[in-house]
């Protein structure tokens, strides 16, 4: 595979081991910025942080914005529930990430790059600090200034414009867009904010070429992706798979299925902001297009599986409460939407009301769609409405009895 030789994190790679396996050869090629930009654009690499924006296009926008200095931000402000791929990448292969940062900075002409790192990731900080020291001593960094900066542990702090606010010493609040960071980012200058995994793909692509990268995955979604499995599985962990691989391979072969041989009832393929799928969706491909066609999204690859007996009302309410809690509060519409939705679901959960509450959920979402500064306002809708659609009997039971279906019979 591209990121981990064995398809999952195994050893904590040293500088010498990285170099022995071909590391820093991409930097040693000493390609001019335009050549790197072309390879990354031709490779079709899409951002791995959740939005899936083509990396080459983002870099090009920054290059074409005639302002300097330019900046690169490696976004490891990882605070998505269940996601730990950024952490395992930096812990196990810090030089792979760092070489990607160096190449990206060279490609867009950045004088400074930041590793924006979840403030609780102490091991990552040590690993990256040492990696920077080693790469500098070996002459791979050149004149690029590299800085590690703490990311607060709140969900919106990982949003790309919020990272810029934090780097400027302000609270983690998303900015109104446009302008996008690539044209007006840190201190108003062109800034490429890329996820850790996106940057980790850069050095292998520059070393082996765009065609090699496209030999993984499928036509529209080249490459591999890291998927995080949680404790509900027999073998939790981070697994790298070519995009387009059926969910079944991840769920059965790698994850070993649910604990206690439980039957699968539902899954969330892309974190808390995606739509639920039913347990028979295991043949859906792990790529954005296939997940979209199935009624969900791939997000940043956090896979959550729910066994039979799970009350989907309770699970949906937890997700809704998460967004109400994590809304930064600066956009009235987002504050209102996330609070209202949670209150409506609480009434359904407690059996206080009638089926009109389902329509109200949709109306609250419709009213607020697209009104906030960032994407958070669009996040609570898919899990809530898909759950009501797919698991209506759970919701009807709660409305009638005020309890979970499995607790009363």
């Amino acid at each position: 595979m591209i990121l981990f030789p064995e398809g999952k994190p195994t050893t904590r790679e040293t500088f010498e081991e990285y170099r022995a396996s071909g590391g820093y050869q991409a930097v040693e090629k000493n390609l001019d910025p335009a050549a790197i930009l072309k390879i990354i654009t031709d490779s079709g690499l899409r951002g791995r942080g959740g939005a899936g924006f083509p990396a080459g296009r983002k870099w090009t926008v920054a290059v074409e914005t005639q302002q300097t200095p330019r900046y690169v931000v490696c976004n490891a402000g990882e605070d998505e529930p269940g996601s730990f791929k950024d952490r395992v990448l930096i812990e196990h292969r810090p030089h792979l990430v760092l070489e990607g940062i160096i190449l990206a900075s060279h490609a867009i002409g950045a004088a400074q790059a930041f590793v924006y790192l979840n403030e609780t990731y102490h091991d990552c900080r040590e690993r990256m600090t040492q990696a920077i020291r080693e790469a500098e001593a070996a002459g791979y960094v050149g004149s690029l200034k590299l800085t590690i900066h703490d990311a607060p542990t709140v969900y919106v702090a990982g949003e790309d414009s919020a990272t810029l606010e934090v780097l400027e010493g302000k609270p983690p609040m998303p900015r109104q867009k446009p302008p996008y960071p690539a044209t007006s980012g840190l201190y108003g200058k062109p800034t490429v904010v890329n996820n850790v995994e996106t940057l980790a793909n850069v050095a292998p692509i520059v070393s082996h070429g765009a065609e090699w990268f496209r030999s993984f995955g499928n036509v529209n979604n080249p490459g591999t992706m890291l998927f995080c499995l949680g404790d509900e599985m027999n073998r939790p962990g981070a697994y790298e798979l070519p995009l387009g691989t059926p969910i079944r391979r991840l769920y059965e072969e790698l994850g070993g299925g649910l604990k206690n041989a439980a039957r699968l009832r539902a899954l969330l393929p892309g974190g808390p902001s995606c739509g639920f799928l039913t347990g028979d969706a295991l043949d859906v491909g792990l790529d954005p297009d296939s997940c979209k066609a199935a009624g969900s999204t791939l997000g940043c690859g956090v896979m959550r599986f729910y066994p039979e007996g799970t009350c989907m009302v309770e699970e949906t309410l937890k997700l809704s409460q998460f967004f109400a809690r994590e809304s930064c509060g600066q956009c009235p519409a987002c504050r209102m939407e996330t609070n209202m939705l949670t209150a409506l679901l609480e009434r359904i959960q407690q059996g206080k009301g009638d089926a009109g509450l389902f329509d109200q959920c949709q109306k609250v979402l419709d009213f607020n769609r697209g009104k906030g500064y960032c994407a958070l306002i669009n996040m609570p809708g898919p899990p809530v409405m898909s759950a009501i659609h797919l698991f209506r009997s759970d919701f009807d039971h709660h409305l009638t009895h005020g309890t979970c279906p499995s607790r009363s019979s």
Partner: protein, 107 residues
């Protein structure tokens, strides 16, 4: 059991503009008023126009409420006239949505 409610928004913006004091003063003023209950509300979504107070079931939306308005609002709650000067400045589609939510029992 109350027949009518005075719902006082208690989200951040309204609180920053004095909604806690409004809630306390209305509660005090309407103490003993038959069938009227003053309640905090999570958010009406019209933060820029706050502090917001919604009378239910009469569906009267008061925005930009200040301490001196409390007596008039209390009088309305007890069956008096609507305080017309406080009823402008909120998007009608938002009003409709909130009233539907209140009709659905969300308070």
């Amino acid at each position: 059991m109350a027949n009518s409610y005075v719902l006082v928004c208690q989200n951040a913006d309204c609180k920053a503009r004095g909604a806690v004091e409004l809630l306390n003063k209305l509660t005090q003023t309407l103490q003993g008023a038959e069938s009227v209950e003053v309640k905090p509300y999570m958010c009406f979504g019209a933060c820029q126009a706050g502090p917001n107070i919604v009378m239910y079931p009469s569906k009267t939306w008061y925005c930009g409420v200040k301490q001196p308005d409390v007596e008039d609002i209390a009088a309305h709650a007890k069956g008096g006239a609507t305080v017309e000067r406080l009823t402008h400045g909120v998007d009608p589609s938002l009003k409709e949505l909130i009233f539907q939510l209140l009709d659905a029992g969300l308070f």
